[in-house]
Subunit: 337 residues, 2 copies
């Protein structure tokens, strides 16, 4: 027996590919000064965004991104059937409190930095399955909230090693519908949790790369496609370290991605000028690069078909303190312009 | 325009109601000694379950519950298309690490104690939508891991107020498929995040009751049904305090639930004998009561149609320290025997 909307063992193929009607992005000052600065909808002036704490600032960015994407689609919050959202903070408080103020039926996700792609894949299933007219997938992250939760408070001024990544301050939102104008999600390949024994929270690229490769390889095997079938293959936030590992691992599987593989964590900062070491990370990294840069290129026709893989390091201070290594996951979504 | 699989504004009505093929439950010693002790598949001897830490014990319970539900259905992990899981711990580490050892494509959820019902609702959409043959929804919680993360380490022996609830030590898993023998999920009403200003982490029943009521009322309005149409209406973990509030709030809306409304947090312990104050809570509360007690009554024919509402208090120490109150959510699922 074979389900009607699957191809191969693990990949979903949507019967009526859901449309990405609108996207919205809000980013912090550093992201605004980066190479993609012009592609974001809103750049906030300071990382507090008028709030008392960074956590409240992060939540406000997420709320703004969701409100903006709904307004761009000329809809109201009550027109949205489901909000799928998550973030990096304990108990995903940015998403929970944003959902409280928005009042939209809410499905909370935790996929670490893969959350945007987990949300887009699920949203595509809910729409193609006939369960919703309008779904918003959204997520956020914030450099200062993530550093103090996962590593050291930024005020402490700890020196960061070259493998460290810089958590993107920002929020991205994607509004999807069964019909409309915009790029379409044609396939999704859901990630498996892989762990290669990395224990250093300042080397997440190495922790996540094998999971991203696992998803990309399964996607190619399921669809019979290869790198040549995509204008761009882009991972979420492997950064320069993880990008190099993923390129090598894919090469070992005979997939040459040297010409068309990039990573959102590499694109979002000018690492020489901005002191961001291995690149960007955080839920917002793949979210705002998709909502801004990639959505622009898809709408322009520069990219006709991309494979995006949101990557997540399932990092936890509790697990690390108990001797555990950091598992990774990567969710793949195909978007056609 | 009206989507084919919706009724009213917010409720999903499945075209081919997914079948709950099997359930599995693993619980701690205290739950095993409670009034529902005989309904669980496995009662562990001590709360460490042979592990070095309570967190690792919780993860092991979750793994065991998922392995058991797959074995009960005479399947193997590689037959499962998706695992939808979450828990209460920061970064949902029980679910992430269980997913690592199981190797099943994984969609991580955060719905606090509503996670089981969020997972069942999503699993039903993925199956009815044609995206999967077999989906496992699962979650876990553990008294000692939850207390030390959210309140005080249990070793400290802090006195608990009468409104406090006792986090259930356990894990539950539900395996769903498009066809087979077992109860079916016919409807789902996804929760909205509501907040009535409760700030006491030892009074979660009061924090969650309004969200549960919101979901139940929307469900009744959407379906044109009322309390009389259900053999049982059961909330996840409101406990005695929240159950009383929910009963009153529903009465104010002219829904008399005095005859057929219960709560898993009340059923799972003998609160006089077991010193559990207002009742049980935690992701595992509604999960193991469903997997054990309710599944048994549905299969016996004692219940023909129930409305289960998984309730979650979106509690966070960070948010509380920043002056925030505790929002609640409730996801409703209709199961017919």
């Amino acid at each position: 027996m074979s389900a009607p909307k699957r191809v191969g063992q693990h990949t979903l193929q949507f019967a009526n590919p859901p449309v990405i009607v609108a996207t919205a992005s809000v980013v912090g000052p550093k992201e605004g000064e980066g190479p993609l600065g012009d592609t974001f909808d809103m750049v906030i002036d300071d990382s507090y965004f008028g709030e008392e704490t960074w956590e409240k600032a992060e939540r406000k960015m997420l709320e703004e991104a969701v409100k903006m994407v709904i307004a761009k689609a000329q809809l109201k919050p009550q027109d949205i059937d489901f909000l799928l959202a998550g973030d990096l903070l304990n108990q995903t408080i940015s998403a929970n409190y944003a959902a409280r103020s928005l009042g939209i039926p809410f499905l909370g996700l935790y996929g670490a930095c893969s959350t945007m792609y987990e949300g887009m894949a699920l949203a595509a299933m809910l729409i193609d399955g006939g369960f919703a007219h309008h779904v918003v997938a959204a997520c956020s992250s914030h450099y200062d909230t993530a550093e103090r939760q996962y590593r050291f408070p930024t005020e402490q001024g700890i020196q960061r090693p070259p493998t460290a990544q810089w958590t993107v301050t920002g929020a991205g939102a994607v509004l999807m519908a069964p019909v409309g104008n915009g790029p379409r999600i044609t396939h999704a390949t859901i990630g498996r949790v892989l762990d290669v024994g990395i224990k250093d929270p300042n080397d997440m690229g190495s922790a996540m790369a094998p999971a991203a490769v696992d998803t990309i390889v399964r996607h190619f095997q399921d669809t019979g496609r290869g790198p040549i079938d995509y204008d761009l293959i882009i991972t979420g936030d492997l950064g320069r370290v993880g990008h190099e590992i993923a390129t090598k691992l894919l090469g070992e599987k005979k997939y040459d991605v040297s010409k068309n593989y990039s990573d959102c964590g590499i694109l979002i900062y000018d690492h020489e000028r901005q002191d961001t070491h291995a690149g960007g990370s955080g839920c917002a990294c793949s979210a705002v690069v998709f909502a801004g840069h990639l959505m622009g290129k898809l709408n322009e026709g520069r990219y006709k078909r991309i494979l995006g893989v949101g990557t997540g390091a399932l990092l936890s201070t509790t697990a690390t303190q108990q001797g555990e290594s950091i598992p990774g996951i990567g969710h793949g979504v195909v978007i056609e312009g």
